[in-house]
């Protein structure tokens, strides 16, 4: 698994490197990390050295970026990432009630992953769905007008 991840990593890094050369711009750490996360589910800390080497930047440079952005993670999340919006429009629409329902349904708190590895719950500040809030984003799907009592049903769509 780790082996596999690493060779995938090497391939992504090669792509990132090529991209920078053809775009004639310096290596883009953030975009590379996003590409890695997309492929591996996370940016494992033990890969930082290799990433830095491939991008010709220092490990510190990578660490700085990796720790800055909330969307970057060093451990893979559950199979599905639930992001509950706590932006003001959703707050106004009492998203706290949705969050409570989520907690009840999954038995986990924000930032945690269910025992079966199916869901991870995170907060998010607005998904641009404010007119149809409260909003819940599961992976790339946005769900609107989420009623607290319908949360369980909604999650059933995700294996």
């Amino acid at each position: 698994m780790v082996e596999e991840g690493l060779s995938a990593l090497a391939a992504i890094l090669e792509r990132c490197r090529l991209n920078h050369t053809t775009q004639s711009r310096p290596p883009n750490i953030l975009q590379s990390l996003l590409a890695i996360q997309k492929a591996l589910g996370s940016v494992p800390l033990h890969a930082v050295g290799e990433i830095a080497h491939a991008l010709e930047v220092t490990e510190a440079d990578v660490a700085g970026v990796l720790s800055y952005y909330p969307e970057l993670r060093t451990r893979p999340p559950g199979r599905h990432l639930i992001r509950i919006c706590i932006g003001e429009s959703c707050v106004a629409n009492h998203c706290d009630r949705v969050l409570a329902a989520l907690r009840d349904a999954l038995n986990i708190d924000v930032g945690e992953t269910t025992m079966d590895g199916r869901f991870t719950v995170q907060r998010i500040y607005c998904v641009g769905n404010c007119a149809v809030g409260p909003s819940l984003m599961v992976d790339d799907d946005v769900h609107g007008r989420v009623a607290p009592q319908k949360v369980g049903e909604l999650l059933n769509e995700y294996e």
Binding site: P26, T58, E59, A63, G64, L66, Y68
Partner: protein, 942 residues
């Protein structure tokens, strides 16, 4: 590498009013800078004279008429007519709140003000928060109203051998991070996290909760971050251990030829810190690991403290009087029995100008021979011969600060980020500003990696490559005809030579693709100001002088000489290798490169020294070995030079040393060479004496005594004075200043030098022809010493050895950042906690082919000897090539090498030897297991 955001360059005069006071400034300057110049103190923590402002602390707020809000004075540029207030009640209130916030994040529950903390080895009697307390007192803050719950993480990184980071007292001002980026260009630090948790770390391992940031990062321990830290969160171990200095003494680093100015911090008679001086003319406040932290060898337990004489295989301690008597007696005896030419001295390029002058005076006036040489022989002697031939002078034509004026930088056979790290950092700064960089080197050095073009030539093919560049310059019409016409001669001959050096032909010899050759030539010729720096990759070759000549030819052809930001600039190696030669420790020249047969000099010499100047040229170091082996040389005095480790073909050198009737070695330590001596004399270090060094840009700077040497030890100049006096030629100087006065009287290029003048922080760059002359930052502006410079055609000739079946690898030797030459000094500092062995660098493909792994011990075999050392798999070296250093006696690297040397200068061919690499078989005992090299720590700079 991060791009720099451009700010307006300082330009026009601007007038503004700050706190009612008229202030003159330049456009592009900030309000803070203007106020500072006018003596107005604005509180600040995150700002520094050496860094781009970022506006983090917000203490420097000000009010500007007609502008809303309170801009930070450190980031706001001045404008004509601006009216600024920096001290109002409102500003004071906000400043207090800000300071209150800072104090509230400290874990020491700061009510009313934090108690003084002296946790874990911080400075004696000093709270880490002292700077904040001082500021609180200044701003009238008495109470912190937040009894905060959230504090800084308690994180301490002790993994660096020289300093530590304590996050608890850090204020996240980023000065350390910016210092690493902007000054040193190493990018080892970063801020991590965001919001309240944003804090500095080194490397990446702290993300995983490990306190190994510095150790696991690419930090080069330059100390820039520590120096910039306003709180003491980053602090030198030595300060923590011994306390803050009570006084400082301005001096000059005694390692490499950069000549970094330092303030030695002294407390209770002991040196406790070395901090690079902001007004150091060559280093501008920066330093490297060795100068900054590699000085406590002066307190090494095994330092020589008393003279020793050999009794068979035993050493016996003798008194200073007995030692000096013995030396004088032996030299008198040998001179009497075999004549002056049976004696020779190898003077130290590590010593002062005054000392080198005195040793040469001793040989010339007391012994009556020119058999005196110095370590420049094995280093840049080819530069001396080469530049003399073309230009008539053999020193850097320009100044280090010209790196800021160059429009292109060409680095040939030099690795400044390791060998001259402060200069390397300056080049990296230029690259960040967008100045193009070309690197000619077989290895992928740090600068090669950053270069616009890396011409990765085969070792030993400089002349071919440089002629190839010449060909392109000629064939594409890039010659600077005006310059050539006005200032040079001999163009035709050179053009004929390079006519056949087509890029494709050059590619076959050098391995550098023809397209790159063309591009490099065009860029060098057309940048407007191309500055060349070169190193041992040019000189330490079979045809080293030719390499230097070929470089000079290119500069002449393109007019890249005699102007700011151009020139031919040898990166002279040791602290005073330039000065040792300048002051006459040379067999071919008198001080100032005056010809020994110059009748005028003879008269002056007689008048001043009272003795005639021997006019027959003396022996160069390699000739001394031959003479010793042949029995012609009987007595030799070696000062601060470990020939038995650092000269090539060590079997021969050692044999020669052991044939001598009398060998006296004068050093701080019992070096490999001292082991052959009949008499060993302890030496004082640079921190324990006065004198001058001349750096690689011809700048004479003072060194000053900061502390006493161990009891009884005389500085080298006093030793030679004593011996001369005993031999009937009294040398009675009370102070090195008097020696300099004499040297100045004898040497036209130094005529205007005196200690009085050297009191100025900038030192003096020779030529200084008179007391009124302010020195020469730029040479050859109007004419060359020989009138016109002369193109000297040189043809490519192959190196001494070519790979064969038996010895298929080409071994390049050189130095690494962490250690210095014979290592006698750096091996006795905490630097060994970073690197404790020479390693053999091999390309990953070669390693894979030979089934060798990182860290494995291998045997390196040449026609002369073999060495066992650990392998480091590295892409710094090309396939088929190897690299190692010569810093550890246990490796005995130089026993592998031959005596092959440059024809005219005798500069050894250290850079090309052919070798084989073998796996040491299991039974093989590693003889002389690396001293202290138990773990083979290494840290390659890429």
């Amino acid at each position: 590498m991060r791009t720099l955001r451009k700010r307006t360059e300082p330009g026009q005069a601007v007038r503004l009013t700050v706190d009612g006071q008229p202030v003159a400034a330049l456009s592009g300057e900030t309000i803070f800078m203007a106020a500072q110049k006018a003596g107005i103190r604005i509180p600040s923590l995150c700002r520094s004279d050496h860094l781009d402002p970022i506006g983090s602390c917000r203490l420097c707020l000000c009010e500007v008429d007609g502008q809303p809000g309170t801009p930070a004075s450190c980031t706001t540029p001045v404008r004509e007519g601006m009216v600024v207030r920096t001290q109002t009640d409102r500003l004071a209130r906000h400043r207090r709140t800000i300071l209150e916030l800072y104090l509230s994040e400290q874990p020491s529950s700061p009510l009313p003000l934090p108690p003084i903390v002296t946790v874990g080895g911080r400075g004696k009697g000093e709270g880490g928060l002292q700077p904040l307390r001082d500021l609180a007192a200044r701003l009238g803050l008495e109470r912190v109203r937040y009894d905060a719950e959230t504090h800084r993480a308690s994180y301490r990184d002790e993994s660096n051998p020289f300093f530590s980071l304590d996050n608890a007292i850090c204020i996240s001002c980023e000065r350390c991070v910016r210092a690493c980026d902007e000054i040193q260009g190493t990018f080892a630090l970063t801020m991590i996290g965001r919001a309240f948790t944003a804090r500095p770390i080194a490397g990446a391992t702290p993300l995983a909760g490990e306190a190994t940031g510095f150790a696991a990062s690419n930090c080069v321990s330059c100390g820039a971050c520590v120096k910039e830290c306003p709180t003491g969160a980053l602090q030198d171990h030595s300060i923590a251990k011994f306390g803050r200095p009570a006084k400082t003494v301005r001096t000059t680093c005694a390692y490499c030829g950069m000549g970094c100015a330092f303030d030695a911090g002294v407390r209770d008679g002991r040196v406790v810190s070395m901090v690079p001086a902001d007004n150091g003319p060559s280093n501008l406040g920066h330093a490297c690991m060795k100068g900054r932290y590699g000085w406590n060898y002066i307190y090494a337990p095994d330092r020589l403290r008393v003279p020793l004489v050999r009794r068979g295989k035993q050493w016996e301690e003798i008194t200073w009087t007995a030692a000096l008597d013995r030396l004088a007696e032996e030299f008198t005896r040998i001179k009497g029995a075999f004549g002056p030419d049976a004696l020779a001295t190898i003077s130290s390029s590590r010593g002062t100008n005054e000392e080198n002058y005195l040793y040469s005076k001793f040989m010339r006036c007391v012994i009556g021979t020119n058999h005196i040489d110095n370590c420049a022989r094995v280093c840049h002697s080819a530069t001396v011969t080469g530049m003399m031939e073309v230009l008539g002078a053999s020193a850097a034509t320009n100044s280090i600060n010209d790196l800021d004026r160059a429009k292109l930088i060409l680095v040939v056979g030099a690795n400044p980020t390791e060998s001259h790290p402060v200069l390397g950092a300056r080049i990296k700064q230029a690259v960040r500003r967008g100045v193009p960089l070309l690197v000619v080197d077989p290895r992928r050095t740090e600068l090669a990696r950053l270069a616009d073009l890396h011409l990765r030539l085969r070792p030993g093919t400089n002349v071919a490559l440089l002629n190839g560049l010449g060909h392109v310059i000629v064939s594409e019409g890039l010659l600077d005809k005006t310059f050539i016409e006005a200032r040079t001669e001999g163009l035709q001959d050179w053009m004929e030579t390079v006519a056949s050096c087509l890029p494709e032909v050059t590619e076959r010899i050098t391995g550098v693709p023809a397209v790159k050759i063309r591009e490099a030539a065009r860029r060098y010729a057309t940048s407007g100001a191309s500055m060349c720096v070169h190193g041992l990759g040019v000189t330490e070759h079979r045809w080293g002088s030719h390499g230097v000549i070929a470089l000079c030819n290119l500069a002449l052809a393109t007019g890249n000489i005699g102007r700011p930001g151009t020139g031919i600039n040898p990166l002279r190696g040791q602290n005073n290798v330039q000065g040792a030669s300048d002051s006459g420790s040379m067999p071919m020249y008198f001080a100032g490169y005056q010809r020994l047969d110059d009748p005028e000099l003879a008269v002056r010499h007689q008048a001043i020294t009272g003795r005639p100047l021997p006019s027959r040229r003396g022996m160069k170091i390699p000739e001394m070995w031959d003479a010793a082996l042949e029995g012609r040389l009987k007595g030799l005095w070696i000062i601060g030079y470990d020939v038995a480790q650092t000269d090539p073909n060590l079997k021969k050198v050692r044999e020669a040393l052991s044939r001598l009737e009398f060998l006296v070695v004068q050093d701080l330590f019992l070096t490999e060479t001292a082991k052959f001596a009949h008499l060993v004399i302890p030496a004082a270090s640079f921190l324990e004496k006065d004198g001058t060094f001349t750096n690689l840009e011809r700048r004479l700077q003072r060194i000053r005594k900061a502390t006493e040497p161990p009891a009884g030890i005389l500085p080298d100049w006093q030793v030679v004075s004593e011996v001369a006096t005993r031999m009937g030629y009294p040398m009675q100087y009370r102070h090195p200043a008097e020696i300099m006065d004499e040297l100045a009287r004898l040497t036209p290029t130094l005529a205007g030098v005196s200690y009085e003048r050297l009191e100025q922080a900038d030192g003096l760059q020779w030529p200084v022809p008179s007391a009124e002359h302010s020195g020469t930052p730029l040479m050859h502006a109007d004419r060359f010493p020989r009138g016109r410079a002369r193109f000297v055609p040189v043809d490519y000739l192959p190196p001494g050895e070519s790979p064969s079946e038996a010895y298929p690898f080409v071994l390049i030797t050189g130095r690494i950042l962490q250690h210095y030459n014979c290592g006698a000094q750096t091996r006795r500092t905490d630097i060994v906690r970073l690197v404790d062995a020479d390693v053999l660098e091999m390309h990953p493909e070669d390693a894979a082919r030979l089934r060798l792994g990182d860290g494995e011990l291998v045997r390196l075999v040449s026609a002369r000897s073999e060495a066992v050392l650990p392998l480091a798999v590295s892409e710094r070296v090309e396939r088929g090539q190897l690299f190692t250093s010569f810093h550890f006696p246990a490796t005995d690297t130089n026993a592998l090498l031959s005596s092959s040397a440059d024809e005219s200068s005798k500069c050894p061919e250290y850079k090309v030897s052919t070798v084989q690499v073998e796996k040491p078989d299991g039974a093989q005992k590693i003889t002389g297991a690396p001293t202290g090299a138990s773990r083979a720590l290494t840290r390659l700079i890429t």
